[in-house]
Amino acid sequence: MKRNSWKEYQKQIADDRYYYARSCIRQNFFPGSEKAFIDILQNDLGRDLLDDPKHSSCTGIGYHSDIVPLETIMTVVARQFALMTEAGYENFVASCITSFGVYTEVLATWEEFPETEEKTRENLLKATGREFRKPASLAHTSDVMFHFREEIARKAKHKLVNALTGEPLHVVEHIGCHYAKIFPKSGIGGSEFPYVLAGMIESWGGQCVDYPERRHCCGFGFRNYLVQANRGYSIANSHKKLESMAPYKPDFIVANCPGCAMFLDKWQYAIAEMEGTTYGENGHGIPVLTYEEMAGLVLGYDPWALGMQMHQVDVEPLLDKMGIDYDPAAKYLGRNGKYIGKPASAVVNGCPPDTLYDMRE
Amino acid sequence: MKFYAPFCLPFIIGATAMFAIVLGKWLVWLLRLPRADKMLILRGLPSRATFGAVGEVFCESLLHRRIFRVNPVLGYMHMSLAFGWFLLISVGWIETVAHLGFRYVPLQGHVFFKYFATSLEHKPFFDFAMDLLLLFVLSGVALAWGKRLRSKALGMRRTTKHVLGDRIALSALWFIFPARLLAESATCALYGGGGFLTGSLGGWMHDRIGMLALMNLESAAWWFYSSCLGLFFVALPFSRYMHIFTEIPLIFLRRYRLRSGEKATSYDRFQLEACSRCGICIDPCQLQSVLGVDNVQSVYFLRDRRYKMLRPEIADNCLMCGRCATKCPVGIDLNTLRLNSRNRLRNLPDKRRYAYLKETDRSQGSGKVGYFAGCMTLLTPRILQAMEQVFTAAGEQVWWADRDGGVCCGRPLKLSGETDAARKMMRYNTELFRKHGITTLVTSCPICLKVFREDYALEGIEVLHHSEYILRLLRTGRLRLSHGDTRYTYHDPCELGRGSGIYDQPRAVIEAMGQLLEPAETRENALCCGSSVANTAISDGQQAAIARSVAAELEATGAETIVTACPLCKKAIARGATKEVHDLAEIVAAHIRR
């Protein structure tokens, strides 16, 4: 792709010493990804990262469901910063895109309306007795991964290429709306052509797919998913995206937002159950990866250690394409290799999982 | 005496076919009439209406009195053909009786009597009389030929463009009487006799043409004559000449109070086929005279409808100003036929339509007098304001039906053909009027006025146009106006004048305030402003062109102010005028004396 404009949207990404804030959705649905991020940073890249047990949710989902007032979320954010300050860190990294958006928005609001910062400090002090310094740098964890993309490429065990043909894999990158749409300058590449995932994909040998609904929201829409009556909206947006990308035959989707990755995966299941439509090859869905999983695969992590068995859409076709060695039988094993049964079969998986991975055979 | 020769065949066949078809048509139309219409006929037959009808048939079908009124030369042409032919037939019948007494003579015996009567003694009186009548008819034929060639000489700017069937019948008709002259003259040449026409021509032929040739000529001439008649008769029921016979029952039915309505009935067939396509309706049509549109006028509309080839764009393209209807010699109810054609094209009964009309009462005030501004008045707030001043000056307690927005009276929709849907609006407004207990309903819109009077069931509520209402206020002294020296001219709105017969009241009101100058075409002949709601086919530019021509005629009176009594006319004419255009109410409001 001829996009060069991303170079105009650069931001400072700290090189070391991160204060890590977990994501509600990512730890729920992709706990392996958060683990992989920490492992990659600490083990593969040798960076310092603090996983503070005292930090909490940013309450962004509540904020964007409008039940948490702005003043409250500002104070929660201030508490996170206070924890960081107390721990002696100043580079804040958030695992969640919604959180990243919230932190950016809160900092911008304090900038624009200083009285709100005053009020927040007052509230925080009153509620917790804590005080905070604003972070020197604020980044999303995908920014950090982007920052180290070349270093990771150098250590790569696998590339994003079809191991059989040598062709680059076609990758749909999906950027969470709150990554750059609220503050285009806060995202690498801006809001129109964000480069944060594209940069990783290109560095690791893949090829990005530009399809008409590339910029469209996955459809989470907070209250639009969280309340069952509204989910028709949520699924319809993913449906629109999937319909739009399917003709390009992507090998997989990668998202930097935990919600997007979860929804693009799960809605494929629901659409298949509702309409019988699957979007990938041979009646399978299109695998949806988090960027941590993508990085993990590139660095040679075991897919099941990355938690890829927790996806609804099977990732095996992708693993096969990339020539990754994995143990099919180990996919659905519990702790310590304990057999705990398997998920029921679903239309999106093409054929029932029982027939493929029954270890008792 | 034998009354048959081979050449009679075309005539016999033609005449038989014609009578069979004509009678058949009438029978079907009569049988298909709605029950109520049939009752009207049964009740009318034994009444004085029948006598009146006979008289009218004589005056109109034979003498063409109405055409005379429009155009004497044209009247003479039609009379000479119709009445002349009628006399030829009746006098011919008397001649037969005079020769043979009251005995059965077949039809061809009467018609071709000259041919069969060669052996009989000549009666110079009849020879003379019949020749005189033939000359009378031939003079009409000559005029008809002349009209085709030079219509302007007969005072018509345009004549009808005819269809093929008409052309055949017309050509046959043109040759019938010259052929008769030739045939009778040839017989006279061989056997003597004849009057000043046939006798003289016969003598001349006798002197110049050989016997054998003459015999052949005679035979050929009678064949030709008979063929012309036969051809004409066969063509007649399918051509415009059907009017010759159709007008007669039409006159009777009309006398029995049968009328066309918004729904088509078989009575319309009598009207349709009574049109002679004389084309008199073309000239008054402003679409023709101003815009040069020449395929939509009533004559073409009736023709297209009769032959079932009516297209919506023709049916729609009519201002329904009624100027043609006032001129129609047959008195066909042209606007109503146009309307029920549209009804047939568009009316789709739909129960759900206008369901929103419930609970929309936005009327204000209370009083025995209700004022319905109408949509167009709401767009011309000065009229509304003026009416308010008039009411205040007269001390009238007024219930304002629609000052804050109301429901349309329904006439525009009706005029477009959606008659059933229009009824819903009419019912809604009727209920509204009843609910507020008014006894007088004043409107300043003639469009509303006409529909209130004709289609609303408003028994007990007197419906007045504001011109009538204002005049009444003046006459009862409740309103006093100052008289100035402004010269006004008045434009008769179609729906008010020709539509509702209100010509004098607005004039009387104007004269109470200043001098009134009449434009060249006025009252029944008044022009239409061009923006009539009845026409959905012409463009804005075309409307403006008509408005300019109307304004020019009004301004030519030298008046300082153009007055009209319709909000739509006011808006329309103002587009084309250089002088001020006002509604009557505005002028009145400005002249109120306190």
Binding site: I67, N123, K181, H216, C217, F220, G221, R223, Y269, K338 | -
Partner: protein, 232 residues
């Protein structure tokens, strides 16, 4: 008197989000909600900038303001620097303060959101925890999720040492002190007041709607599940 408009102006998001709209429609053109609801963010901004109190009240009491998914796609495109999404947030906040949210079907759903997400934040320190995503209320989460849900104690510990326990790592149980701090933050900064307003007005509305027990579990499940399908 511009009562509602002034109240909106107290919200910094409203001040930031509303400059002057020229009705170009760029926001609606990309809006995912406009695509699937009878919704037009341009018109919302256009209405509030007229300062027509009646119109604003209709918005506060109506369904429209609740369609937005807060994806903020509208924000980077606006040629006049407005943010319809912020305006929506301000309107929603005010609607909840005034209790107007309970007047519309979509607004009433705030109760469900408060009880599911809001209460969970105070209970766990996180918006969502695995036990909250019950397969019967989230059928779209699929068969794999059901398998995870049913075997959470076997699966999650593979990725975190502290599943539902204290310590550092994913899906840990937050320590009591931190939870206390969050609770006090909500107390001090108006979060609790907002929750209370949602509960109170929902209860009032529930009784109005004929729920004799007020905003009970049955009412909550009804607002959570019911869709009149009149929103498209």
């Amino acid at each position: 008197m511009a009562k509602y408009f002034d109240m909106l102006m107290e919200d910094v998001r409203f001040r930031e989000g509303l400059n002057s709209c020229m009705n170009c429609g760029v926001c609606t053109g990309v809006c995912p909600a406009a695509e699937f609801y009878n919704y037009d963010p341009r018109q919302i901004v256009s209405i509030v900038q007229t300062r027509d109190e009646e119109a604003i009240e209709r918005l506060l009491k109506g369904d429209t303001i609740w369609y937005c998914g807060e994806c903020m796609s509208c924000r980077p495109r606006c040629p006049r620097g407005n943010t319809p999404g912020y305006v929506i947030q301000a309107l929603r906040t005010l609607s909840q303060k005034l209790g107007f949210f309970a007047e519309s079907e979509k607004g009433r759903q705030q109760l469900a959101l408060k009880r599911i997400i809001g209460d969970n934040i105070l209970r766990t320190g996180y918006c969502i925890v695995p036990r909250l995503v019950k397969p019967d209320l989230h059928p779209e989460q699929g068969t794999v999720w059901k398998w995870i849900f049913d075997h959470d104690k076997d699966i999650f510990p593979q990725f975190t040492p502290v599943y539902m326990r204290h310590g550092a790592g994913a899906l840990r149980r937050l320590d009591e002190e931190s939870l206390g701090e969050i609770d006090r933050i909500f107390e001090v900064s108006g979060g609790k007041a907002m929750f209370e307003s949602i509960e109170r007005h929902s209860d009032r509305k529930a009784r109005e709607l004929g729920y004799e027990e007020g905003a009970d579990q049955r009412y909550m499940m009804d607002v959570f599940l019911n869709n009149s399908n009149e929103h498209y």
